[in-house]
Symmetry: C2
Subunit: 226 residues, 2 copies
Amino acid sequence: MPKHRDFKDRLYGQFARIGKALGNPHRLEFLELLAQCERTVDSLATETGVSLANASQHLQALKQAALVESRKQGLFVYYRLADPAVFELCAAIQSVAQRRLADLERLVHEQFGDRATPEPVRLEELLERRRSSAVIVLDARPVSEYQAGHIAGAISVPVDELQRRLRQLPKNKEYVAYCRGPYCVYADRAVELLRGSKRRARRLLQGFPEWRAAGFPVEHGGDVWH
Amino acid sequence: MPKHRDFKDRLYGQFARIGKALGNPHRLEFLELLAQCERTVDSLATETGVSLANASQHLQALKQAALVESRKQGLFVYYRLADPAVFELCAAIQSVAQRRLADLERLVHEQFGDRATPEPVRLEELLERRRSSAVIVLDARPVSEYQAGHIAGAISVPVDELQRRLRQLPKNKEYVAYCRGPYCVYADRAVELLRGSKRRARRLLQGFPEWRAAGFPVEHGGDVWH
DNA sequence: CGACTCATCAAGTGGTCTATTGATTACTTG
DNA sequence: CAAGTAATCAATAGACCACTTGATGAGTCG
């Protein structure tokens, strides 16, 4: 037994703490949601269909692995990612999964078919074109996520409200809708609705966290008109 | 129950396959070794102190998660990383662990103390300086790893052989030693030996896989003189 | 062919993880 | 202070994981 064994065992034991925390579907979904904005235990539990107690336990597991932090405000405990690097880690997992797992490709193809929204826009392309007054960048996520951070210049139209707010949206513009990430359907639905009403629309392939991670311009807060 | 639940469950279930594979210390160590070069089951088992059967099982788990691939040659089965992105994933885990886990920092400090090798060289710095004829870049890893890929222009002096090959190494040069990665001790030992024999030496902070991932110049094969 | 080696398989055991349940704590509000 | 809500705790059953052991498969070589 070489002497360095002990050190290496402990070293990789520490790395594995992170790995273990990433080994559960619910925890990964939580991290993805927390990449948008901080959230309460209850809101995470409700959105993901996990019981409150169970969600609390998973969040504590993530906290043990130092992937998230929490703060208490009144009755609520808000959890947030502990570090931007945690999102990069999630992105790395998804990147490997997407490239290597045939099951995933099958699943995505089954869900999106031949993509109702062809020609997705890439981050760099949008960075160029968003300055044009002919392009409207539309954030399809819930308002709270928009307010916590969004692509600079984007307007907030949560996908649930898009239908009834269609009349407020000019017809002669070109729309680029985005949402939480490549596997989120909000932007797809937004594009569907916009196209259904004779507007030109495409979706951004990536979501807001990817935009921010790329270092592209971001705004916080901002008014929401109804 | 919203209808998209089913899709999301399956989606994150797939991502979690990757996560689960990363949740074991031995598997993480295997991945790190495979980031240097392909290896047989037996060699991995021996180097890490894991039983052969157990190593085989872990490797199959990694293969199930599509993180590694294997080929059979004669009696031996060689495993290798399935994709460069897998190394990036490991690096992302280590990056988060290093930043966020206090236990890890304590462990590393305990092992390396105040680093016997101050002033480590950074990748970019070496990229600049390696063209100077006053600098010798020394690969302290085993020969097989050197041959599978090394920093362009580096010489191979496995740390075990360094002592008896010291006389072959000029005294008026400046040495930069590197090895598998930031937590590998080979380069540290090499620097110690070089300094102990009145040579100027520093270690590269990162290892070869990081160099390669950065897109810096790499060479394969190459003669090894004895 | 028979002996040998590398690797995998199969089965079993102890340990860990997950989700549920019901109780408890922490805080706010009337 | 009593009632109500968000979150955590504690205990548990069932599923899953890790490692060992001994047997089996696959390939080489004398």
